[in-house]
């Protein structure tokens, strides 16, 4: 279980990005974080991934204080997939996925058969096994995203730890075309079904609607609402979040709420 209690955060010489954020995310949850640009989505994910520490408040994972865990320990329990991965050198897909084993190995050790098994499983479950010998830079956007997710999975796979495994995805479909978006959505759903707790930040309300069990609505660094997706995806909330008038319909095929934006009702925040 992940707990965020009264968390405030500001970057150096800047205004508060997160203001008094409190959340509880159960083990095995699949949670979407939505909100306009500058609402603090990415910052919240960075805090959960241990990349920044809150200026006030607490973050706990299975009752352990996140900020007191060493980088290595934290990495065995929380993995993050950034929006984009740019390489300075030509690594192969296998090498990238293998790098997920970093927190489990010492400085001088070389990966053994166990690590290979874990990597092979991650490649298979993300549908990237056939790419393993390819150079990462030659892959398409969707393939890259799946490989980075595979790398994150090998990172979470540790024999010592049996608690919550948290996967953070920062706008995983932002630069992908429709086909790849569906692929990634399906992959995330499968991983969640295997017991991994997933938090996704996204701009795509329909993605959030079809994928996430629960939503966190962020505006100007504050939690506007948090709860079940079906309860929160309403006209009023979309208006309050984005200043956009939208029509909500129910998709007959999947039963998910479909958000159709109609018009902007108030000017943007200019962030």
């Amino acid at each position: 279980m992940l707990r965020v209690e009264g968390v405030w955060f500001r970057y150096e010489n800047d205004d508060e990005v997160l203001r008094d954020v409190s959340l509880t995310i159960p083990r095995g949850g699949l949670v979407g974080v939505i909100g306009p640009n500058g609402s603090g989505k990415s910052t919240l994910l960075r805090l959960l991934g241990g990349l920044s520490t809150p200026s006030r408040g607490y973050l706990t994972l299975d009752d352990d204080d996140l900020t007191s865990l060493s980088r290595r320990t934290l990495a065995c329990r929380v993995a993050m997939v950034p929006q984009e991965t740019q390489l300075a050198f030509e690594y192969s897909v296998l090498e990238i996925v293998m790098m997920g084993r970093y927190p489990h190995l010492g400085a001088f050790s070389i990966e053994g058969p166990d690590d290979y098994r874990i990597v092979t499983r991650a490649l298979e479950s993300t549908g990237t096994a056939h790419l393993s010998a390819r150079l990462f830079t030659t892959l398409s956007g969707g393939e890259k995203q799946r490989v980075v997710i595979a790398s994150a999975l090998t990172q979470l796979h540790g024999p010592r730890h049996t608690g919550t495994q948290l996967l953070l995805l920062d706008e995983p479909t932002a630069s992908l075309d429709l086909g790849f978006q569906l692929e990634i959505t399906e992959l995330v759903r499968t991983l969640n079904a295997q017991g991994i707790t997933v938090i996704v930040s996204t701009h795509d309300l329909n993605l959030a609607s079809s994928l996430c069990h629960e939503l966190v609505l962020l505006r100007e660094g504050r939690v506007l609402a948090a709860g079940a997706t079906t309860d929160l995806l309403t006209r009023n909330n979309v208006r309050a979040l984005y200043g956009v008038e939208a029509q909500m319909t129910r998709n007959a095929a999947t039963g998910h709420t479909l958000v159709v934006p109609i018009a902007r009702t108030q000017p943007g925040q200019g962030l």
Binding site: L74, Y91, M99, G100, I110, Q155
Partner: protein, 333 residues
């Protein structure tokens, strides 16, 4: 092939090749020497010209070449990963020039300090390279996501001309014979003709390589970006500092022996990456070995190509490295 197998096979091949080059190099030169005479203990050393050439002129020179080549190539690999740019090297970033300046100040002003047995020259070149790497590194940090090639090259040009100007100024203050000796710190030359500079640099080289040995896996992740590395469990700040200090140590030590010999740090790692891929656990040791073999070979060229005149080895590496660097620039843009 598993990583383990590939690692050992690659290192064995590179190690064997380097050993071969290092054994052959002292035998080649304008004067032909016979190995049987070199090791013939029946002839007193004072009369054994072959042994004198071998032990006083060529062997220290080969050792210096191997040491400097291995060190500069490894420092290149580390800096490239640290700054996330394959065009970063001690020479192009101005780190070698900083080290040269440090060494030259000590020599020209005759500073006679030593610290834990390490004499002033290598210490001063370490200080010089530390200042230069520090400037580049803080520039990179201030700009966040690594250094773009443009900024990197501009920073290098600026630092290089700043240090070169200071070197010229210091030279101007010195008398003629001192400034003749100081040529090494401008051009790069392996004509050590004694084991002393090698021995004095050795502790720093040793320390740098111990640090390098802990780095490869971390360098792989730093090359993906600092955020990425941090979420994978890397203590980014500590890793960057270790990489930054050890690369400065290595460059300082190398420059104290041979001056600012250029382009080793870029030619060698690139060739290695083309041959074995990008994994730093293979690239770093292989680059050290190929660096040694490469510089020893270049030095054989420097000694023999225009014989009896000797070229500074820095001229050879620059003639090879300059076009190579341009080709890389064109390929990367």
């Amino acid at each position: 092939m598993s990583v383990r197998r590939r690692f050992f096979v690659t290192q064995a091949l590179f190690g064997g090749g380097t050993l071969l080059v290092c054994c052959l190099a002292p035998l080649i030169g304008p004067t032909t020497i016979s190995l049987t005479r070199v090791f013939d203990t029946a002839i007193p050393f004072a009369e054994n010209v072959d042994a004198q050439i071998f032990f006083i002129a060529r062997l220290p020179r080969m050792l210096a070449g191997a040491l400097v080549g291995a060190t500069l190539a490894s420092a290149g690999v580390v800096l490239q990963a640290l700054l996330r740019n394959p065009l970063a090297t001690p020479f192009t970033l101005g780190v070698s020039a900083g080290a040269s300046l440090g060494a030259m100040i000590v020599i020209i002003f005759g500073v006679r300090l030593s610290f834990l047995g390490v004499p002033a020259t290598p210490l001063a070149s370490f200080a010089g390279s530390l200042v230069a790497v520090g400037l580049v590194y803080s520039l990179a940090r201030a700009r966040g996501r690594g250094l773009s090639t443009n900024v990197l090259l501009l920073a290098g040009v600026t630092l290089n001309s700043l240090f070169s100007a200071t070197i010229l100024f210091v030279q101007y203050l010195a008398d003629f014979s001192e400034s003749f000796r100081a040529i090494r710190w401008v051009m790069g030359n392996l004509d050590v003709s004694s084991y002393d500079p090698i021995l004095s640099a050795l502790p720093m080289v040793g320390l740098a390589f111990v640090a390098f040995a802990t780095l490869p896996r971390t360098l792989n992740l730093l090359a993906l970006g600092t955020d990425h590395a941090a979420t994978r469990g890397v203590n980014v700040l500590a890793a960057q500092r270790l990489a930054f200090v050890s690369a400065s140590l290595a460059t300082g030590a190398a420059v104290s022996v041979g001056g600012p010999i250029g382009f080793i740090g870029i030619i060698v790692p690139h060739i290695v990456r083309l041959l074995v891929g990008a994994d730093h656990r293979v690239v770093l040791p292989a680059s050290a070995m190929l660096g040694a073999a490469f510089l020893v070979t270049c030095d054989v060229g420097a000694r023999t190509l225009m014989s009896p005149v000797e070229l500074p080895v820095g001229v050879i590496t620059a003639l090879l490295g300059g076009p190579f660097f341009l080709w890389l620039l064109i390929r990367h843009s």
